[in-house]
């Protein structure tokens, strides 16, 4: 048990270190997130009420896309330099190591997205009452995005041009997170209770955290066979 935990920490720390050494690459998803949300008012017009209605959906869709673009980083570099094969040979279960990599990925992308979201919410004119709900939902929802995305990239890691394919595989599976995440923020903006949506998001996180690493590990075994 402790050996597994130690392996989990080692893999996670390694991924975090790699990301830290390439800081300029690590901030790209957040920049993308900010850019997409900034472009939206430019396309739609600066009308505050319209923007406030669009804000929850716009922020969530932008978060989805930013996560999607960053997914390649979970397995692709390790696949190319052979680290992934070493991980598969490790004594610890592959699913555990996969969840370590996914955790690191979330810390690198999901968490910064969540932290930068309030600024975007202000830009979009989202009511201040909805701000804590937005943070809570992103905190619960973005790990699910990383977990489900890991399955998609695990399936396509051996392909030369898997990028577009990953979006086809993964985006339909993101629908529940989008619906409940944006729905909760919408409800909070209108002053309605949000416990139901937040609970469902938490349930989705529990489900994804337990099942997705297993599926991703199975997919990696297929891809690298």
């Amino acid at each position: 048990m402790t050996a597994s935990w130690a392996a989990f920490l080692v893999v996670m720390r390694r991924d975090l270190t790699v990301a830290y050494r390439r800081r300029s690459e690590a901030v790209l998803p957040v920049l993308f997130f900010v850019l997409v949300v900034t472009l939206l008012p430019l396309g739609i017009g600066p009308e505050p009420r319209l923007l406030a209605t669009l804000a929850p959906g716009a922020i969530w869709v932008a978060a989805l896309l930013a996560t999607l673009l960053s997914l390649d980083g979970i397995f692709k570099p390790d696949f190319e330099d052979g680290t992934l094969e070493q991980l598969m040979l490790a004594a610890q279960p592959l699913a555990l190591l996969v969840s370590a990599k996914v955790t690191a990925h979330w810390l690198i992308t999901g968490l910064p997205l969540t932290i930068s979201a309030p600024i975007l919410a202000l830009l979009m004119g989202l009511p201040a009452d909805a701000l804590d709900t937005l943070l809570l939902c992103l905190l619960l929802g973005t790990p699910v995005l990383s977990l489900i995305g890991a399955i998609g990239v695990a399936l396509t890691v051996g392909l030369r041009r898997g990028g577009m394919l990953v979006s086809l595989l993964v985006l339909p599976l993101y629908v529940p997170v989008l619906i409940f995440g944006a729905g909760a923020v919408d409800a909070a903006a209108m002053g309605s209770p949000v416990a139901a949506q937040v609970s469902i998001l938490a349930a989705l996180l529990a489900l994804a955290a337990t099942l997705a690493p297993l599926a991703a590990a199975g997919a990696l075994r297929v891809s690298l066979s």
Partner: protein, 245 residues
Amino acid sequence: MWQWFHRLGSPPAFYRLSETLLPWLWAVFALALGYGLYGGLVLAPTDYQQGDSFRIIYVHVPAAWMSLFVYVLMAVCGAIALVWRMKMAEVVLIAAAPIGAAYTLIALVTGSLWGKPMWGTWWVWDARLTSELILLFLYLGIIGLHGAIEDRAVAGRAVAVLALVGVVNVPIIHYSVEWWSTLHQGATVTKFDKPSIHIDMLIPLLAMALAFKLYFFSVLLVRVRAELLTRESGSRWVKSMLGSA
């Protein structure tokens, strides 16, 4: 007891069995389709609200049922392929995907055609339409992944994993979309206590459902046979069979 199951897993045995099954499948399909179309388009009474335009139900509803059935069947095949390493299950899975996608597309298009006179618009963001659209994307993902991987053995197992992941998500997606919005009429057939569809309308509908299912299995067998011949083109049974023919 499991012997028949293992025999199905052998390509030559499957090929021979499908050869004897196919004519029967096509024949019963033609009968069910003929009765279903005649019953649905001619015999069934006109709907008191929707007039004759309700008759598209005889294509729309069976196609929608099949779109879900095929996906579940693919997931079952995926589980068999991963657990028992049965190559036949992979072949069936990938042969079923385009047929399922076609049924899903038919359900979407006929639903849209039906929606125009009934709701006054081609498309509404209603729960069932939306989840059917997402189901189509799931099908396309499976087809796309299979097409992208060159090694057939790897492609088969990757698609099996994806089908299993998808089938876990289909109910979640369905209920989340349901929660999100609903404008669609409630279920009319599965209310067992008192079906709200008239019996004269229901029987042709069931005949059409049977026809759609038989058509699926017939086309599936044809596709599986073609795939088997290409996959096993080097093996002895294919050579001896083609040589003797």
